[in-house]
Subunit: 490 residues, 2 copies
Amino acid sequence: MTQSGTHSGTASATTSAALALEPVLATIEKTQAAAVERLAEFLRIPSISTDPAFDADTTRCAEWAAAQLRELGFRAEVVKTIGHPMVLAHHDGPSGQRSGSPRILYYGHYDVQPADPLELWTSPAFEPAIVDGHSYRGKPGKRIVARGAVDDKGQVMTFIEAFRAWHATHGTLPCAVTVMLEGEEESGSKSFEPFLKSHKEKLAADVCVVSDTGMWDIETPAITTRLRGLVYVEVTLHGPSLDLHSGMYGGTLVNPINALAAIVGKLHDADRRVQLKGFYDNVEPLPDAIRAQWAGLAFDEMEFLGEAGVKHPYGEKGTTTMERMWSRPTCDCNGIYGGYTGKGAKTVIPAHATVKLSCRLVANQDPAKVHASIEAFFKDHCPPGCRIEMVSHGMGPAISVPTDSVWLRAAAKALKATFGKEAALIGTGGSIPAVGLMQRELGIDSLLVGFGLDDDHVHSPNEKFELWCYRNGIEAQARMLAEFAATPRA
Amino acid sequence: MTQSGTHSGTASATTSAALALEPVLATIEKTQAAAVERLAEFLRIPSISTDPAFDADTTRCAEWAAAQLRELGFRAEVVKTIGHPMVLAHHDGPSGQRSGSPRILYYGHYDVQPADPLELWTSPAFEPAIVDGHSYRGKPGKRIVARGAVDDKGQVMTFIEAFRAWHATHGTLPCAVTVMLEGEEESGSKSFEPFLKSHKEKLAADVCVVSDTGMWDIETPAITTRLRGLVYVEVTLHGPSLDLHSGMYGGTLVNPINALAAIVGKLHDADRRVQLKGFYDNVEPLPDAIRAQWAGLAFDEMEFLGEAGVKHPYGEKGTTTMERMWSRPTCDCNGIYGGYTGKGAKTVIPAHATVKLSCRLVANQDPAKVHASIEAFFKDHCPPGCRIEMVSHGMGPAISVPTDSVWLRAAAKALKATFGKEAALIGTGGSIPAVGLMQRELGIDSLLVGFGLDDDHVHSPNEKFELWCYRNGIEAQARMLAEFAATPRA
């Protein structure tokens, strides 16, 4: 609360004609424990969208989120799609609000990554545990450990809890709000684009707040303005028509594991440059202005790699770790399997082997072209008599959002008021296909304001969210809403 | 029975002073159905030695086999080892048998390979099914489908059933017999060598009959005189200390899957020559004599590959498929895994990736040197900051057995009497480390007489044993025993 005290003037000044912010911040402070318990409830639902075994839980999770929003005066529906349902909710804001007052769209996702490898979790992935965490401004902190803690349920709850505080204090929100929560962000977002096309009017808004990114560090807020895109495929190399005895057949025919590995091994050259045809066409060097800005962030390469237990920087020749992370495309295997993978030995030559492969894309790379180039690469290198089968698990282009909008300025103001520090404008290596699709289909720019940290173990065992980040995120979201309400529409 | 009728003269002539063979063959003919049911009982025990989950079944399987032998007048024990137990059984043969009459050692294994991929079996792997099979000399045949049907339970039962027929007919066997059944043949035979060292006296014998190989075809018996050796290892490449988000870290550090695949891809050059240092040292070209003998076998390369659904011969440049199969060393991946291997997509960079790798060895290759060379290869190609961990799953040298011994002549005579055709002297790509170890530790040569066919799906789904091969195998074993009994010791 020290922050909200210190900086309250900022927001209230711009919203003099509107609802008061101060009591909202007081409510947030009073209701911290309950906010954490509500997040834990959200986290107990194993909404793993990529695994059909969890379909019922995923739908239950959507309904849970919709119920939360109804409690806060939203008209919330769980909309069926070709995949997992979409949560769509509307709040009109204060009755008789000034015309010209904006409508803000909020995007997040309620689905999560699979939890495996389960044995590496210190507590069950879907039984949230509160343990010691980082301190903030010298004050000791706790963290909540669970799959989805920060990606993205914890971040979704920062704005839902901000709405809750506004609703509890004033019985309404300071401006009109639409919430859209996706259930397929971790599994290719197949039904997202059709949903946007069929719900354009309901989704009309001035800007979209996306909370699925990170802060610069626990004390420095950030707004993300560059996102890498993604192409994710699964490639199977088919050889013999059945598994064979390696003694009888070894050396006389193509071994699909050896053959697949050989192709994967050719994906990069000695300089770690991706060898897919046309991969770097139109990929531009980093503008000097951005290079200078990033240099100002005093990024500690060894600390970043150290979080991953890595001591040696490694990657595309002639680039820095920060450039590799935010501005260079990649080609990574995310999974591989073939033959006998149980304990001990089995002398088999398998009928096929499979690799899950994804490319992170940067500006001007066409996902469809990269997708085609991957397929061509595997087919061109496929040994005689073998067959390549490729399945797509989704794709999205790289994104950059405007850095000079009134909405970004409003968000930056709220972040400074919360943290007492200017927000850093950063990039991220991750992909949020939704951002690009909303830009294209709805003509709405996104504002990527998130509260995660680099060491949150996103997609890994023991994923966590610092309760300081959760608390400050809720305050920042409450302040942003006040700033947005006071921002005249373009 | 047509065969035994036609050729009975052969054996009875050489065993005039001994127990009559004719009634034994008659017993075999009368008890076929019961012999198949006993094999099915053996096959219902899932003795998967490589998977600790099946340890109890594996021990139960050893006890089942020992009980069978006790019924036939053997002193049978199930001997504890550092791994799975060994079945050791003795029969002294007819009382007051002529001095100078031999003792024959029989080797087989009661353990089996894992059954996965389970979904590809047309009937459950451990519920033996009798279905239509190949015909023999124009007579329609059936086959028994189950894991272990031919490797090696069905073959072990050919000699146990032959003993049963002798015992049922004469109340004894025509000469002294020792049986040794191993429970770790499919999982590295770790305790086999120590067992031989500690049981030298009990295992003393003139020759060892090993039934774990194949016939030339369903009408042509074979004696295998060349076996490839084996080195089997599991190699893990360790990178980051935990699984990571490919968006946050992709491109900034070593991806263990990409790195492992790149190393595996370097194991062979463009001519499919293995690149392990010193791998081909001392590997000699195939002697012209053997090349000529093999040419006489009229091997149909496309039919052999066709059994595996393969249309393109592939392998070491400048060699024929038969040479690759019997006389050239290999380096095959038998399994690979890393990262996310479930359904759908997960954008993870895993902490490690693992490959199961085995080399088939030929004469003069030292398994220990090859083992060391594999480890050196992976370590030499390991990227900076990563770590290679290698586990051994067993090794054994290549073997060749004398082709001019009295025992081989005796076996060949019995095979001709059974099948009416000369036995082919062949090689096999498979490995039976026991043969080399018995040669070294006990000074006993092996006689590799087996009744499997190339299309038996050994180590694959729907493994089967033709009932014609089972029946003829039992007859051949009964005849061999008569021939051995009539063979004076060297």
